[in-house]
């Protein structure tokens, strides 16, 4: 099934408020879903027998300078088709519903997105840092992230022995 058909079915189920289909010249098409309807959209995409998106391949957070996005790559092992869902979030307070009730694999993907980008997933069972130490300050993958000077006494820079700028 191609992305236009999937979009039409999604529109028929959710209504077209906030839904958008992007089919750029280069790269993959994607469907933007409003943050408030994300869980409904995911439940529908998983349970509909023709769509049958049972495999959540990847959840990524992206920090574009003026907004943040949470991107979901879905796949269907039975129908061998895939779709990309996107949710646009406010960069100052990025929050969206967790899709862990729909696919269990979202658990760790969302934890990573929270850890590295600071996107909060509401309703997640265990939203704590997964990669960085528990007492790390800041979200490293953000574009405006500034590294701290020391971590538990270990300096985070090292003078360059050949006299260039410090690492």
């Amino acid at each position: 099934m191609d992305v236009r058909e999937i979009f039409q079915r999604l529109e028929a189920k959710l209504g077209s408020v906030g839904l958008a289909l992007a089919q750029p010249a280069a790269g993959d098409p994607s469907i933007t879903v409003p943050a408030a309807r994300l869980r409904d959209a995911c439940r529908f995409l998983k349970s509909d027998p023709d769509l049958a998106f049972d495999y959540l391949r990847c959840v990524s957070g992206v920090d574009l300078k003026d907004r943040m996005e949470s991107v979901y790559h879905l796949f269907s092992t039975q129908r061998s088709h895939g779709v990309v869902l996107k949710v646009v979030l406010d960069r100052g307070n990025p929050e969206v519903d967790s899709v862990e009730p729909v696919w269990k694999s979202a658990n760790w993907f969302e934890r990573e997105s929270f850890d590295l980008l600071g996107i909060r997933y509401l309703g997640h069972s265990n939203l704590v840092r997964v990669m960085m130490p528990g007492d790390w300050v800041g979200h490293p993958l953000r574009k405006d992230y500034v590294e701290q000077e020391h971590y538990h006494g270990i300096p985070t820079t090292r003078p360059d022995p050949v006299g260039g700028e410090d690492a």
Binding site: P24, A25, A26, G27, D28, S30, D54, Y55, L56, R57, C58, S60, V62, D63, L64, V71, H73, T77, S80, G82, V84, W103, K104, S105, N107, W108, F109, E112, L116, R129, V130, M131, M132, P133, P140, L141, H152
Partner: protein, 376 residues
């Protein structure tokens, strides 16, 4: 400094396994809550090898990021290279010459064998059988020699470039690899005689940590782990890329031959079968390397037009997927790397309830999780 914590007085022992531990396949830590020999649960604590590869992508240019992809899974680095090169080429709409495609897949399948050698060998070693691992390390040295002849490095290859590979196929290497394949396929039988049919080995693995197919799909397992649970899903078959549509190979799917479908033995057995299938594919590939360029003409700086792409390859450990966001400059905006071990390690906690402490080692080994893939 780390302070020891007092054990709560509820009779459950809380110990941690790792991060430095011979059986955790890298620096992963498991917080184990155990009541005698039976575990309540084992929670993975990862991030000890989080090197910030995805942030480095935003700092280095497109061609400069290729060595970083090697380090994402250093046991089978060609797959990570391949996924990244495919992602950039799709956005550039670049056609890769057929010879380069062949060379890429030959290197891929050699890496698959090398990775499964380590996976099955360390699994046997973790369960106490040290000898098969030394046999496998000896065979892996031969593959390292071939990779050194191909691209100059033994471990982290940086062989692929955007548009092809970095160097032409060396003269005489085809015959060397065919000779080695003739030597290696009977060695798989020798390995099976050594350990695969061993009564103790089977008892340690059969019916342990059964992952049913539906659970595997829900938790987004991929690669041999998913196929061992009975789901015949392989990206080389279901979303073929490169020259895989032209190759004959069978999928290795778990059948529960010694226990139940989706137990640890199935995950081990699927890897042994995949090694044989890789040998078969290598023979087909080596018989027909086409003439031509080994790299498309690409400029020194690569500016990728704005767009996003998700490109995935079937690695030895599962699916390595690259979600690449580009904005027209010469550096990516975001590269997200999705690996097979990341989703597999998430399964350790639900699976480990009720298992014995010694089974945890079998579970970690059979899922073939490695720290660099989880942490990147």
């Amino acid at each position: 400094m780390l302070e020891p914590k007092a054990q709560p007085a509820d009779g459950v022992l809380r110990i941690n396994m790792g991060p430095q531990h011979p059986a955790t396949h890298g620096v992963i830590s498991f917080m184990v809550e155990t009541d005698g020999e039976i575990m309540r649960k084992a929670t993975p604590d990862v991030g000890f090898l989080h090197r910030g590869v995805e942030k480095m992508a935003e700092i280095t240019s497109y061609p400069g990021f290729m060595p970083y992809t090697d380090r994402v899974d250093y046991l089978a680095s060609m797959f990570a290279n391949h996924g990244y090169a495919m992602a950039v080429e799709r956005l550039l709409a670049l056609e890769v010459p057929r010879k380069a495609q062949y060379l890429r897949v030959i290197a891929d399948e050699l890496n698959r064998i090398a990775s499964h050698l380590v996976a099955t060998g360390t699994m046997a070693m973790d369960l106490g059988a040290f000898t098969p691992f030394t046999h496998w390390i000896r065979e892996r040295e031969s593959i390292n020699d071939f990779m050194e002849l191909i691209c100059g490095a033994r471990l982290t290859y940086n062989y692929l470039r955007v548009g092809g590979v970095c160097a032409d196929w060396p003269v005489g290497l085809t015959e060397k690899i065919l000779l080695w394949l003739d030597h290696f396929e009977p060695i798989i039988d020798e390995f099976n005689r050594l350990i695969t049919g061993n009564e103790i080995f089977i008892n340690r693995l059969a019916n342990v940590a059964v992952i049913p197919g539906a659970m595997a799909v829900d938790w987004a397992l991929s690669g041999p782990n998913l196929r061992a649970s009975g789901v015949p899903f392989d990206l080389r078959r279901c979303q073929p890329y490169s020259v895989y549509p032209e190759l004959q190979f069978d999928l290795a799917v778990g059948t529960g031959s010694r226990g139940t479908v989706g137990d640890c033995y199935d995950r081990f057995w699927v890897r042994i079968v995949e090694m044989r299938e890789s040998c078969r594919m290598l023979r087909q590939l080596l018989a027909g390397i086409p003439e031509g360029d080994f790299k498309a003409k690409v400029g020194r700086t690569i500016k990728v037009p704005a767009g996003e792409v998700y490109s995935a390859v079937e690695s030895a450990r599962g699916e390595i997927g690259y979600y690449l966001v580009a904005d027209g400059t010469d550096r990516p905006v975001r590269v997200k790397i999705r690996t097979g071990s990341f989703t597999a390690v998430a399964l350790v906690e639900p699976i480990s309830r009720g298992l014995m402490l010694a089974d945890l080692v079998a579970v970690i080994g059979s899922l073939d999780i490695v720290a660099p893939e989880i942490d990147r």
